[in-house]
Symmetry: none
Subunit: 212 residues, 4 copies
């Protein structure tokens, strides 16, 4: 109580660690059985914490759902960024982003499955993913690569395809699902079949050359 700063800093670190234990546990469980089907007690137990401790870190169940979804979104974002942002062609970015997103979801099925759950059981989450998508699409439009306008619905359709891709991939679809999803998105944006295919092919080369 006297030495405020050091103590509270260590406390903060501890707080952070405990919080992480909870979100990790929640991620694991919700990914496996779905968001709604995961109970607060199960989360606490998985985190090796007492039932009531949960409420020292989250106001209610909704709050941890939000936190976990955000965490996964962020983690996926971290796993992606490097190559994608180096692409100057908006269309290539859109395609590469989608393809990578799906591949990461397949490589980390815990993330992927949570996302699928979040899409259907936790509305607020959608916006998180849509954000990045919008940026890439906007870039492509600016560059005159796409004929479609940038509005709500085009993003909705994009997201829908992304979801379908993740879902199919998690359900055992081969890796070409990712590339196809990307290609479909380009077509939706108004790109010709030939051009979309070219970008897809280029991306598949890039994806193959990057380690993961």
């Amino acid at each position: 109580m006297e030495q405020r700063s050091p103590r509270s800093s260590s406390n903060n670190a501890k707080r952070e660690r405990t919080r992480a234990r909870l979100t990790d546990a929640a991620l694991r469980l919700m990914s496996e059985r779905g968001i709604n089907a995961t109970s607060v007690s199960e989360i606490a137990a998985e985190a090796e914490l007492a039932n009531g401790t949960f409420y020292l870190y989250f106001r209610d169940k909704a709050e941890i759902v939000a936190a976990v979804c955000q965490a996964v979104t962020r983690a996926m974002h971290d796993d992606m960024s490097s190559t994608r942002l180096s692409l100057e062609d908006g269309a290539a970015r859109v395609a590469f982003g989608t393809q990578q997103f799906i591949e990461i979801a397949a490589a980390e099925p815990v993330w992927g499955r949570l996302l699928m759950s979040a899409f259907t059981e936790f509305g607020a989450f959608k916006e998180d993913v849509a954000h990045y998508m919008r940026l890439d699409v906007a870039l492509g439009i600016e560059q005159g690569r796409f004929s479609e306008p940038l509005d709500e619905f085009v993003i909705d359709a994009h997201l829908a395809i992304l979801r379908a891709g993740v879902s199919a991939r998690l359900a055992g679809g081969g890796p070409d699902v990712a590339a196809r999803a990307a290609e479909y998105q380009l077509r939706i944006l108004g790109m010709s079949v030939a051009e979309a295919r070219r970008i897809r092919a280029a991306n598949e080369r890039k994806a193959a050359s990057s380690d993961r």
Copy 2:
């Protein structure tokens, strides 16, 4: 014993009416708050029936969910069929089907919202819709109108766009959402932007000329 038929017919009528009260109540509630979030007691209460009465008409909750989804599917099907089947071009059929589906969902938002719920919370239902979709897509492919193969994923993508269309429309999107969704589907199938637009335009004319 003599007046068998009238009696049992009146009883049947009553049974039918009560059953309808239940499915109607279920439709209303599930449409509003989602399938899982609607409890059997709520349904019974909304139907102004005692809790236990529910189980005289449905073995369990799953059964009424199935019944309601089936009823809505059937109602939508009835509202659609006539014109669509008269179209000989598979591509036109695909587009017309999607557009009409979305418009009906918008005209009967109670149906539409239930469908959205059913897509995510009642797996069996998806297949019902996918079935008709597959037929139309197959026709188009046979006619050489599409370049994409007819496989799982292409249907998944199709359904995803349909869902996005219904959802956007229910959320307040204008009527062009329906036409756009149809157009996107055609593009996904590998049709050129111009051709897809042509079919969309033709469909919009047809839709306008049919009363509903």
Copy 3:
């Protein structure tokens, strides 16, 4: 309404038949799944009658249970009486009665199983069976064949052995179970092992010579 007598007699016949349908149904079901586990609706359905009809014949569930138990007791009694009553030795009667009782229960497992159920789930029934038992034991005592007094407990013990015999026989025990149960009862009554065995042997001969 005018011709009271003929009508009501035919009605009585019909009433009786319907009542029998219900008790038969109850017997079948309760025998299979136990008394408590059989519901009134199931009984009515098995009797091909409407739910509510049941209450025109029985005040409540307890009443049909009583009726069924009584009916079975009576049926068993009818199946037994002839030979047993011709035995003049009380000890032989006791043994023969028990043995036959168990054998009939094994031959008509529907009866047997109901009895087992009734013993444990329907107290009042016990007295029905005890009645006949008491008579035979009393006779033996009068004849000086047994050393034990005729009181509550000796009858309880008797019944307990009878029950154990029926139960073991229904559970797959061989036919010697019936003879052994009878022998045990004689021993309980104070008869010497040798004498009890003699009577058992004599009974087994009688049982073999009677068709059923």
Copy 4:
């Protein structure tokens, strides 16, 4: 974190106390009205706990039934053991065990009544009691005291007599019921009336000299 042990010990103490409240309540109620006729809510209410609390201590109703039966079995066992095992004569042991069992059941009618219920409504329990019985009977057989073989049915008959004894005693039968039940068992096993009576008499002396 430092005072782990005291804290958790106090918690354990509380847990133990609450659990005991529940088992006690269950014992009382099940003893009065039977096992099946006692509902979880009644148990919780009798224990002055909320409904849901029950499930923090027992997975389901079956578990508390098992726990209560086990507890009573154990309590009875603890109340018995000392003298019985000191008897070297298997026959004496059999008789003494039965007599004591019945007497304890009479002295603690709550236990006794639960046992009666358990015999008929909780199958698993029967085996618990049969186990000890078998040991004693086997000993007597080994010593050549009994002429009957040690098989399923002889144990069934034994149990049946024990049950009848407990039941009669609880229903108001005098203390000689216990001794008589024991005597009957010996007779069933093939011991002569005189010898059985001798052992009974010896046991009654022992029982009188033991405090309870």
